[in-house]
C-alpha cells in the first residue's frame, strides 16, 4: 500500500514536472544556465576569440579586483551615485505623489506631464541632456542671459557624474511616483479624519499618517532604486562615449564590466568576477535595507 502510494506520488510529480518542462527548459537555458556559466567564467582565465581556452585560476580574478585601481574608482563612483540618487528620487517621488493626490485643479494633466520623462528612453534623454549641458547649449545660454559665465559641464570631471545624477533623479522619480500614487489611494479617509479631529495640520497629517502608511511601498521603491542605480550603465556610457571619462569620473561598475568583457580581449573571466562581486554587493545592500525598514511592522 505504502509503496504503491509513493509510486503514485512520484508519477504525479513527474507529470507536473513534465507540464512545467517547457518553462523549466527556457528558464534553465536563458537564466539559470547563464548564471552558472558566469560563475564558471569568474574562476577561469578566458580567451573566447579564436581558439577558445579556459584556464582555471581559482580566486585570482577576485583578488585582482582588490588591486585594480579602476575597479575601486568605479565602485566609489557607483556608491556615491547610489547614496545621492536613491534618497533624492524616493523623496521627490513621494512629494510629487502627495501633491498630485491633494485634489488640486488639473491633476490629471500634471499626472501625464510628470510621467512623460519615464516614458522616454533613457538613451534619448541622455542625448537631450547632453545638448542642454553643451557649452553652447540651453543651460549655458540661460546662464549667459542672466549675465553669468557659461561652463563646460561635459568636460569637467568634477561635474560629469553630478550631471548624470540630476538627469536620472528627474527621469526615474515619476515612475516611483506612480507607485506611490496607487498606494495613496489605499489610505482610508477615516485615518485623515481622525487626525483632523485630533487637530493635526496638513504637514502633520503627511508625516504621521501618509508616510508611515506608505512604509511597505517605500521599502519596495528603495530596493528597486538600489538595484537600478547600482546597475547604472547607459547614461554614463553615452555621456563618455564608452570610456568612463573624463578622468574616470563617469566610470561605473557595469561600465567597467562591459569594458573588460568586450573592449579588451581575454578578460572575460575578470569581467564575470566583477559582475559576480556586484551582484553580491547589491544583495548585501538590499538585505541591509530590509533589516532597517522593518517592512512587516504595519500597525
Amino acid at each position: 500500500m505504502n509503496k504503491r502510494s509513493s509510486k503514485k506520488k512520484l508519477r504525479d510529480a513527474g507529470q507536473g514536472y513534465l507540464f512545467m518542462s517547457p518553462t523549466l527548459f527556457v528558464l534553465a537555458l536563458f537564466i539559470i544556465g547563464p548564471i552558472l556559466y558566469a560563475i564558471f567564467l569568474s574562476f577561469n582565465k578566458v580567451q573566447l576569440l579564436g581558439g577558445t581556452s579556459f584556464e582555471f585560476v581559482a580566486f585570482e580574478n577576485f583578488s585582482r579586483i582588490m588591486e585594480d585601481n579602476r575597479a575601486l574608482i568605479a565602485l566609489k563612483n557607483t556608491a556615491k551615485y547610489v547614496l545621492i540618487v536613491v534618497p533624492c528620487q524616493t523623496a521627490l517621488a513621494l512629494i510629487l505623489a502627495a501633491t498630485l493626490n491633494a485634489g488640486l485643479k488639473g491633476e490629471k494633466f500634471f499626472r501625464i506631464v510628470y510621467f512623460l520623462p519615464t516614458l522616454t528612453s533613457s538613451a534619448v534623454l541622455t542625448l537631450i541632456f547632453m545638448w542642454m549641458y553643451n557649452k553652447e547649449g540651453l543651460i549655458n545660454n540661460l546662464l549667459e542671459m542672466i549675465g553669468l559665465p557659461g561652463y563646460n559641464f561635459l568636460g569637467d570631471p568634477d561635474i560629469a557624474l553630478n550631471a548624470i545624477m540630476l538627469m536620472n533623479i528627474w527621469a526615474t522619480a515619476p515612475f516611483f511616483m506612480v507607485i506611490y500614487l496607487a498606494a495613496l489611494q489605499d489610505i482610508p479617509d477615516s485615518l485623515y479624519e481622525a487626525a483632523e479631529l485630533d487637530g493635526a495640520n496638513a504637514l502633520q497629517k503627511f508625516f504621521y499618517v501618509t508616510v508611515p502608511f506608505l512604509r511597505p511601498v517605500t521599502s519596495f521603491v528603495v530596493i528597486m532604486g538600489l538595484i537600478g542605480t547600482f546597475q547604472l550603465f547607459d547614461q554614463s556610457y553615452i555621456f563618455s562615449g564608452g570610456s568612463g571619462g573624463p578622468n574616470n569620473s563617469t566610470l561605473t561598475v557595469v561600465l567597467l564590466i562591459y569594458q573588460y568583457a568586450f573592449k579588451s580581449l581575454g578578460t572575460m573571466g575578470y569581467a564575470a568576477a566583477l559582475a559576480f562581486a556586484l551582484a553580491i554587493i547589491i544583495l548585501a545592500a538590499t538585505l541591509i535595507q530590509r533589516k532597517f525598514s522593518k517592512e512587516e511592522s504595519l500597525y
Binding site: R11, Q15, L18, F19, S21, P22, F25, V26, Q47, L48, L49, G50, G51, T52, E67, D68, N69, R70, N134, K135, E136, G137, N152, L154, G155, D156, P157, G242, S243, G244, G245, P246, N247, N248, Q259, F262, K263, S264, L265, T267
Partner: protein
C-alpha cells in the same frame, strides 16, 4: 491514468519540438554553397562601418563592378554602424562572423594574435602586385612575415587653417610648433581659438615620441618617461598658460572638423575625412591645408589605415579572396578612392589619380613618407584608453602632467598581464 501521462508527454514533446525548430530555422540558409567552386552562386558577406552617403554609394559601385565581373559571387554588404569592434568580436566568437571585414590597423595585432584572421599569403598571385602598396601601410597588417590583410585606404594628418582669419590677422601658416604657438596667440580673439586640439593619444602619438621617448616599450606603456612628458608639455601649456587652444567640447562642438567649420578655431589638425565633411556641412568656410608643423626640426604626422581581412572560419575562402583582391586591387581601389574620400594605398593608383597635386589633399599625401602608422602591438588600445583618461585631467589643469601620466601608465600596465 496512463493515457493522461501519455497526453502530457505528447504535449511536452510538441512544445519542445516547436521551440527547437524555432531555434534552428535560420541555419539552413547559411550553410549553402560552401567551397565557392562550381556553377552555383556563392554569397560572401562583407562587414564594415558606415561612412557618409556618398562614400557608401562609391562602395556600392565598387561591389557592383565586382559582381559583374564574377557573376557567381554575390556580395552581402553589412553595415555595423556603432561599436564596430564589439559587434564584430561577438559575432566571431559566436561563429557568425562575416567572411570579409574592415579592420583598423590599431586593432589588427590583437585580433591577428587570436588566430581568427586568415593569413593571405598563399592566395596572393603575381599580378596582384603586393609591391605596389605603400610599405608602412602594408606592414600594419603583417605579423611574423605573414600578411593578414591589405590596406584599403589611409589618411594622414594635416594642418587645416582658415584662410580668412589668417589674412585678417596677417600671419603666415606655421612651419614649426613654436611658430604655431606664436601664431595662435595672434589668432585667438572674439571667442575664436587659435588652435583646436584633440587631447588624445591617437593624435598626439608622433608628438609624444618627437623628443626620442617611447610611448610603448616592450608592449607595455612607457609614456610617463621624462622624454614623453617633456614632448607633450607644450600642448598642455598652450591650453593652460597661453589659453590659445581648446578642445572641441569647450566650444560646444563634437570634434575638430566641426569646431573648424563653425569657425571657432583658426587651425585644427585633421585628416582626409574632414575634407568631404567641410564641403558638405560648411561649404562657405575658406580654408587651406598644410603639412604639420615640424618639431625639433623634424617633420612628423600620423597615418591611419584600415584593411580588408578574411575570417579564418569562413567557408567560402576562395570567393572571399576574390573579393579582397578586387577591392584592394588596382581596379577596385581606383573606383573606391576616385572621389577622394579616401587616399589610395597603392602607389600606382595614387599616381594615376594625382592626389599629390590636389590643393587640399596634397599636404596629406606629402605626409605619407614620414608618417607614423597608428599601431603598436596588441596592447595599444589599453594603453591608449588609460592615456586619454588621465591626459585630459592634465590638459584641464586638474593635476600636473607627469603625475597624471605616471598614474595612467601604472594602471595600463596592471591591465596588461
Amino acid at each position: 491514468m496512463k493515457k493522461k501521462w501519455l497526453a502530457g508527454l505528447g504535449m511536452t514533446t510538441m512544445l519542445m519540438g516547436s521551440l527547437l525548430a524555432g531555434c534552428s530555422g535560420s541555419d539552413e540558409t547559411n550553410s549553402e554553397g560552401s567551397g565557392g567552386s562550381g556553377g552555383e552562386k556563392v554569397e560572401v558577406t562583407l562587414a564594415g562601418w558606415g561612412g557618409n552617403p556618398s562614400e557608401q554609394k562609391l562602395l556600392k559601385q565598387t561591389i557592383a563592378d565586382f559582381e559583374e565581373k564574377f557573376p557567381n559571387i554575390d556580395v552581402k554588404h553589412e553595415v555595423i554602424s556603432e561599436q564596430y569592434m564589439d559587434v564584430l568580436k561577438t559575432r566571431l566568437i559566436g561563429g557568425e562572423g562575416p567572411d570579409v571585414f574592415y579592420l583598423d590597423a590599431l586593432e589588427a595585432p590583437a585580433l591577428i594574435e587570436t588566430g581568427v584572421v586568415e593569413p593571405l599569403d598563399e592566395y596572393v598571385t603575381e599580378d596582384f602586385d603586393t609591391e605596389d602598396f605603400e610599405k608602412p601601410m602594408l606592414e600594419a597588417f603583417q605579423v611574423d612575415g605573414k600578411t593578414y590583410g591589405f590596406p584599403k585606404d589611409y589618411s594622414t594628418l594635416a594642418l587645416f587653417y582658415n584662410k580668412k582669419m589668417f589674412e585678417e590677422t596677417g600671419v603666415e601658416v606655421p612651419k614649426t610648433w613654436d611658430e604655431l604657438r606664436e601664431v595662435s596667440k595672434a589668432l585667438t580673439k572674439d571667442g575664436v581659438y587659435g588652435f583646436g586640439v584633440a587631447p588624445e593619444l591617437a593624435r598626439l602619438y608622433h608628438i609624444a615620441q618627437a623628443s626620442g621617448g617611447e610611448v610603448v616599450k616592450d608592449d607595455k606603456a612607457n609614456f610617463a618617461s621624462s622624454e614623453v612628458v617633456e614632448a607633450l608639455k607644450p600642448i598642455v601649456d598652450q591650453h593652460l598658460e597661453d589659453k590659445t587652444s581648446a578642445q572641441a567640447s569647450e566650444v560646444g562642438a563634437n570634434w575638430g572638423g566641426e569646431m573648424f567649420g563653425q569657425q571657432k578655431a583658426a587651425m585644427v589638425i585633421e585628416g582626409n575625412w574632414a575634407i568631404p565633411f567641410l564641403e558638405d556641412t560648411f561649404p562657405d568656410v575658406e580654408y587651406g591645408t598644410a603639412e604639420l608643423p615640424a618639431i625639433n626640426g623634424e617633420k612628423g604626422t600620423m597615418a591611419y589605415t584600415v584593411g580588408y581581412v578574411m575570417n579564418a572560419a569562413s567557408e567560402k575562402k576562395e570567393a572571399s579572396w576574390k573579393l579582397i583582391s578586387y577591392l584592394t586591387g588596382k581596379e577596385g581601389m581606383e573606383t573606391w578612392t576616385s572621389k577622394g574620400f579616401a587616399l589610395p594605398t597603392r602607389k600606382s593608383v595614387a599616381e594615376k589619380l594625382g592626389y599629390d597635386e590636389d590643393p587640399l589633399r596634397g599636404a596629406l599625401v606629402a605626409g605619407a613618407p614620414y608618417a607614423t602608422v597608428w599601431q603598436e602591438g596588441a596592447n595599444l588600445p589599453i594603453i591608449m584608453n588609460n592615456f586619454n583618461n588621465q591626459f585630459i585631467a592634465a590638459f584641464l589643469g586638474d593635476r600636473p602632467l607627469s603625475d597624471a601620466l605616471k598614474d595612467a601608465q601604472e594602471q595600463a600596465n596592471s591591465e596588461i598581464q
